[in-house]
């Protein structure tokens, strides 16, 4: 390309070379523009299709309401935690646990740190023998079978339990 231009400006057959080179460049420019615009338009259509496949424009009650593999459960879980955040006493020690999925204790604690801004989330292991039991437990997906606690709130995805002894 640069060589072409040099010959345009310096060569004796400059005019002829210039006429030969410019249509090719112009065509490449047009092809580039066409390619870029076509791909861009296709990506926009695919993005709209993807958005519609995920439910399209809609109101969301939580940040996970239409995301992930089980959005309804995620939404219900976050709503339960938001309720706990609003209603449980500030600085109360709270454990979030899936009674039937203790493998996820670390994940539940991580989520609790984000959602229970007013309380003090503690690991679910504090419920185990020898632990320092929390004041409240948010049980997700299944009831808490622990005689030290009684249920104070029930929600579609679980409940909140208060320590009574």
């Amino acid at each position: 390309m640069a060589a072409n231009y040099i010959s345009v400006t310096c060569g004796s057959n400059a005019y002829a070379t210039k006429r030969a080179a410019i249509p090719s460049r112009a065509m490449r420019d047009r092809l580039t523009s066409l390619t870029v615009v076509l791909f861009s338009a296709a990506f926009v259509v695919l993005a709209a299709r993807e958005h519609l496949a995920r439910g399209g424009p809609s109101g969301a009650r939580t940040v996970m309401s239409h995301s992930g593999m089980a959005p309804e459960r995620a939404e219900a879980g976050l709503l339960l935690l938001q309720y706990a955040n609003r209603t449980l006493p500030p600085y109360a020690r709270v454990a979030v646990v899936k009674p039937n999925g203790r493998w996820d204790d670390a994940g539940m604690l991580a989520v609790a740190h984000g959602q229970l801004a007013r309380q003090h989330p503690v690991p679910a292991s504090s419920l185990d023998a020898g632990g320092d039991p929390p004041d409240f437990v948010v049980a997700v997906d299944a009831p808490l079978a622990d005689p030290r606690y009684e249920r104070i709130h029930e929600a579609p995805t679980g409940g909140i339990w208060k320590r009574v002894r």
């Binding site: 460049r25 580039t32 791909f39 439910g55 940040v63 239409h66 740190h113 959602q115």
Partner: protein
């Protein structure tokens, strides 16, 4: 809904980056400079165990900005006429449509990552309520699942938006993905003046961000810093490139790899290299000092026998489930332009792909969980290769010189 506090404090990030005005960057770069400034200030305060507040964080950048404004003569900034393309209604409409669709998907909470509620947002909430980068919290073995050693810029940004509040604005934090993508597209347009590629950038990455559900994660921020850095390198604005590269290093682990490749292959000048390398070193030193370096040393043994399967799966993941369309979209302009100008970018992208192949060469790699998100980085690099290839073409046509454009550009 997104709260006024979140919006105001996000706008103040631009003010915190106002000191970058002397480099005459596009608007997007102010946000990059602001985020890097705030994050570095928070990191320094954490190193000394000092809690932050708005006054402490804003005092220094605002003082620098005011000092610059004194006697500052407002001059019309130079526009890069070499690569400037006439504004085109079609590309403008496509850009806006792509951003609107992405915004709709994000606000509808249909593009949110689970990692947002697991650790990106949760760490932001913790740092914001404690008003410091809480290393004691991060070191706790019970919090290992929250990736304590991930670079902290995004949680620190979320913590910044909590100044004066006790709770994170989760919808605002999630919606920041839209801001990052919009500013990244603006950076492409501002640095290259090629609105065709801004449209391609916005549409391609809006699609990939929705498909990969990255809202709330660090990927949109990394994409933003990469776009600003590569745009600035393209426009030979070394200072802004350095700032954005520092931001990339503080955003994700692979951001550090991007920084090293970008410096080695694209910006081999000390003015580009010094600040980001110092920033990366400072973060690594901070992490090491506080015992936060787990992820930099993979838990499972890397093995050469897993390399070929890793490469095979990486090649499959590169399709993005879109028949490799994003790669084709950036490769065609390369071959329609001066492909030689894209060689350093292609090498950088290949280097990054090599890094991915090696890092996933282990028995429990689970590449399907994360590879398509990480692959956005080499795609961005190659995207700028396409712009460089086209720019080489334009340079010859309009200036009669084979050199890259010099001088700063503006939006």
């Amino acid at each position: 809904m997104i709260g006024a506090r979140f919006l105001l404090l996000t706008l103040l990030v631009f003010a915190a980056g106002g000191w970058a005005r002397r480099f005459r960057p596009p608007l997007a770069a102010y946000f990059a400079a602001g985020l890097v400034t705030v994050a570095l200030e928070m990191l320094v305060l954490a190193a000394f165990g000092v809690r932050w507040n708005a006054f402490v964080l804003l005092a220094a950048p605002v003082a620098v900005l005011v000092a610059q404004l004194r006697g500052y003569a407002v001059t019309r900034q130079e526009v890069n006429r070499v690569t400037a393309q006439p504004r085109n209604r079609a590309t403008g409409i496509i850009t806006i449509l792509a951003l609107l669709i992405f915004a709709s998907a994000v606000i509808s909470a249909s593009a949110t990552s689970g990692d947002f509620v697991f650790f990106w947002g949760s760490k932001g909430q913790r740092f914001g309520s404690e008003r410091m980068l809480d290393t004691q919290f991060l070191r706790d073995p019970d919090h290992a699942v929250m990736h304590p050693d991930y670079p902290p810029l995004v949680p620190l940004y979320y913590a910044w938006t909590m100044l004066g509040a006790s709770e994170l604005d989760w919808f605002g934090a999630m919606a920041s993905a839209v801001l990052f993508l919009a500013l990244a597209a603006a950076a492409v347009s501002g640095f290259t003046r090629d609105h065709r590629f801004a449209a391609l950038f916005a549409s391609m990455f809006a699609l990939l961000c929705i498909r990969n559900s990255v809202a709330g994660n660090a990927e949109p921020a990394l994409l933003f810093f990469e776009a600003v850095a590569l745009g600035a390198l393209f426009a030979r604005n070394d200072e802004v490139a350095a700032i954005a590269l520092a931001g990339a290093a503080l955003t994700k682990i692979e951001g550090g790899v991007f920084v090293i490749l970008a410096i080695a292959l694209l910006g081999r000048r000390w003015r580009v290299a010094l600040f980001p390398l110092l920033t990366l070193a400072a973060w690594l030193l901070f992490a090491k000092t506080h015992g936060l370096l787990d992820s930099y040393v993979p838990r499972e043994e890397l093995s050469i026998r897993y390399l070929l399967p890793s490469i095979g799966q990486l090649l499959r993941e590169m399709s993005f489930g879109l028949w490799y369309a994003p790669w084709i979209a950036v490769a065609l302009p390369v071959f329609l332009g001066n492909a030689r100008r894209a060689v350093p970018y292609a090498l950088a992208a290949l280097g990054f792909l090599g890094f991915m192949a090696v890092i996933y060469a282990r028995p429990e790699a689970h590449m399907e969980w994360s590879a398509q998100r990480v692959l956005m980085t080499p795609l961005v690099v190659l995207f700028f290769g396409a712009i460089a290839a086209q720019n080489g073409h334009a340079v010859t046509q309009s200036r009669g010189s084979a050199t890259l454009p010099r001088g700063r550009v503006t939006a």
